[in-house]
């Protein structure tokens, strides 16, 4: 059976299914749009033309205007950059910190493991959004403060999961054989442990990308993240609220829709990846009838 788990460890695209593949395409498309952004819309996202406030779509402005007479398409495209870059930073920072903490705790064990577990439990107590808002209130609003605070808040979730995976990996015969060989702990971790955790790390990173996107949008919505007039989907949802009341819901709906579609896509892909990593947790009964690859045991 171990052989099968090892086999599944290599997550291949064809195991994602149609839904997973769609999710991957949606994400890729969003990334492409945000990179190409300025090339796709000639309008300046920050130029207001109050005469065009809430104007309907027209030539050169396929999505129309917001309440301040700014081109909606241009703002959505520009906003996609902060809305994708923010979560990217959160994921990169929290994944890096979480992985290092998890592996250190799993490898050294003993007192370090206890201290780390206790510290993680303390951070666990704070919901990410709350922590981000607290930090913004103390150090002033802005994207970097929110990113940093969310990163810290996510570390316990990532570290806890990776710690148990790293612990399981560390107990495997091949890791112990390398220890007996006299290879140093750092070398074993970098060359063997981390590469074998990558499918799991990738799956978690994808899932948390979605969470971070929602959380950052919430923070920006409350005016503590990205600051107007900079475009950001969270800011746009908030900015469009007055329009909703006046019967022009386009800005809030479009920005909110972008967030929802991408978050769902990241969640779906994350689920598929963690199914493939063999440690996702949502597993059916073990498939005892499958013969081992390569036959003999």
């Amino acid at each position: 059976m171990t052989a099968i788990t090892a086999l599944l460890g290599s997550s291949r695209p064809n195991r994602w299914g149609p839904l997973g593949t769609t999710a991957a395409i949606v994400i890729l498309a969003a990334v492409a749009l945000s990179v190409l952004g300025p090339a796709l819309s000639s309008a300046d996202p920050n130029a207001s033309d109050f005469a065009s406030a809430y104007a309907a779509p027209g030539a050169g402005h396929p999505l129309g205007y917001d309440g301040q007479g700014r081109d909606l398409l241009a703002r959505l495209l520009t906003g996609s950059r902060t809305s994708l870059l923010g979560p990217l930073w959160v994921v990169a920072l929290s994944m890096a910190a979480g992985t290092i903490i998890a592996i250190a705790a799993a490898w050294v064990g003993g007192w370090l493991d206890s201290v780390v577990s206790a510290a993680l439990d303390v951070v666990f107590a704070f919901p990410g959004v709350l922590l981000a808002m607290l930090v913004a209130a103390v150090f002033g609003p802005g994207l970097s403060a929110a990113v940093l605070a969310l990163s810290v808040a996510y570390v316990p979730y990532i570290a806890r999961l990776l710690r148990s995976a790293a612990l399981a990996e560390r107990r495997k015969a091949y890791v112990q054989a390398l220890e007996v060989q006299g290879l140093g702990a750092v070398a074993i971790c970098l060359r063997h442990l981390v590469p074998n955790l990558i499918p799991l790390i990738a799956a978690q990173a994808t899932l948390f990308f979605g969470y971070a996107m929602v959380d950052l949008a919430i923070v920006s919505y409350f005016g503590l993240g990205v600051q107007p007039p900079d475009a950001d989907w969270g800011v746009m949802v908030a900015g469009g609220q007055s329009g909703v009341l006046q019967g022009y819901p386009a800005e809030s709906l479009l920005a909110g829709g972008c967030i929802v579609v991408l978050v769902v896509a990241f969640n779906v892909l994350g689920e598929r990846l963690s199914d493939g990593s063999g440690q996702g947790g949502t597993f059916g009964p073990s498939r005892w009838w499958r013969p081992r690859r390569g036959g003999a045991a």
């Binding site: 009838w289 013969p291 081992r292």
Partner: protein
């Protein structure tokens, strides 16, 4: 025919990696009432799959051909109550008792559940029967054991609980799938002794699945040897080790080191055991057999009677002659 169980021409295909793959090919085997039959083979030989076919515990999507008759009833067509009757008349004991007992329920719950739910026996009565059966399999202090949880019991003890559970439905046939493989040698001997005794006292028939030729020989009347989803040989157990009819059986016996003396080197067979879907067209063992001839590649030998047993090897007669 007074056979309790009669399997003929059983072929099973399973969906594996998106393809239908043969795991059992033309298996024929019978067990008389009260008889112990060993089923020996290496991984991929199909020995467990054979047992699971008998109680209809095949994975979803399995395609079954051939006939399985238990006391004259056609097993594949049984439904509802008739299928439940079959499963209480044919009990199964698995290799890893821990994987087959719910860890959060007590031993008592595990033992009495089937009786109380299927046969509507009152709890007190069911527990009384459970205690009596536990005593029969050598577990003393039954009432206390019933209140214990699986993790409080050793592997050997837990396997006896499994056997007790199998006996509670008063079966006529016991399918034992490597019941002692996970146990220590001394515990294995105890469990085997209990199985042997039960069989004699209750007139129970048994299909005993194992990878250990000598263990099968020690406890079974006849032994079938499987390779790549096919039966290679069926023979009186006493004759199997020293007078094997099939080259594969001989190879299996020779590969196992002797407890009595050290060999300079063991006699080995090149390659590894194959699964049915990997086996070549002719004789499945032809790619590894030391006695192979061209016709072994050309035709697939059927199981045929020889010397009181059955064998699927075209050269069985000449090889038997040259051995003696």
């Amino acid at each position: 025919m007074n056979d309790l169980l009669r399997i003929s021409g059983l072929t099973v295909r399973l969906p594996l990696d998106g393809e239908m793959r043969t795991v059992l090919s033309d298996v024929s085997l019978s067990i008389a009432a009260g008889e112990a039959v060993g089923l020996v083979g290496e991984s991929g030989s199909g020995k467990s799959m054979t047992a699971r076919s008998i109680v209809r515990l095949l994975p979803p999507g399995a395609l079954v051909e051939g006939t399985i008759r238990y006391r004259g009833n056609d097993v594949p067509s049984l439904r509802g109550q008739r299928l439940r009757d079959l499963r209480s008349s044919v009990s199964m004991v698995f290799q890893d008792p821990r994987a087959h007992i719910n860890p959060v329920r007590t031993v008592g719950d595990f033992l009495t559940e089937a009786l109380r739910v299927n046969q509507r026996v009152a709890r007190r009565e069911a527990e009384g029967r459970a205690v009596r059966v536990l005593d029969e399999v050598g577990v003393a202090d039954g009432p206390r054991r019933l209140r214990q949880y699986p993790h409080e019991l050793s592997g050997g003890l837990l396997q006896r609980v499994m056997i007790a559970a199998a006996l509670l439905t008063e079966p006529h046939l016991l399918l034992a799938d490597e019941p002692t493989t996970a146990l220590d040698v001394t515990t294995q001997a105890e469990v085997m002794a209990i199985l042997d005794e039960l069989r004699r006292e209750r007139g129970l028939a048994m299909l005993f699945i194992t990878h250990d030729l000598e263990l099968a020989a020690a406890v079974c009347d006849r032994t079938a040897v499987m390779y790549a989803g096919r039966v290679m040989e069926i023979r009186a157990s006493a004759l199997l080790h020293d007078h094997a009819l099939h080259p594969y059986t001989a190879a299996l016996a020779a590969a196992r080191p002797s407890l009595e003396r050290r060999a300079e080197r063991l006699v080995t067979t090149p390659g590894r055991p194959l699964s049915a879907f990997e086996a070549p067209d002719g004789c499945p063992f032809s790619t590894r057999c030391p006695h192979v001839r061209q016709r072994c590649h050309d035709e697939r030998p059927d199981l045929r009677p020889l010397d009181g047993g059955q064998v699927a090897c075209v050269r069985a007669e000449e090889l038997a002659v040259s051995h003696d």
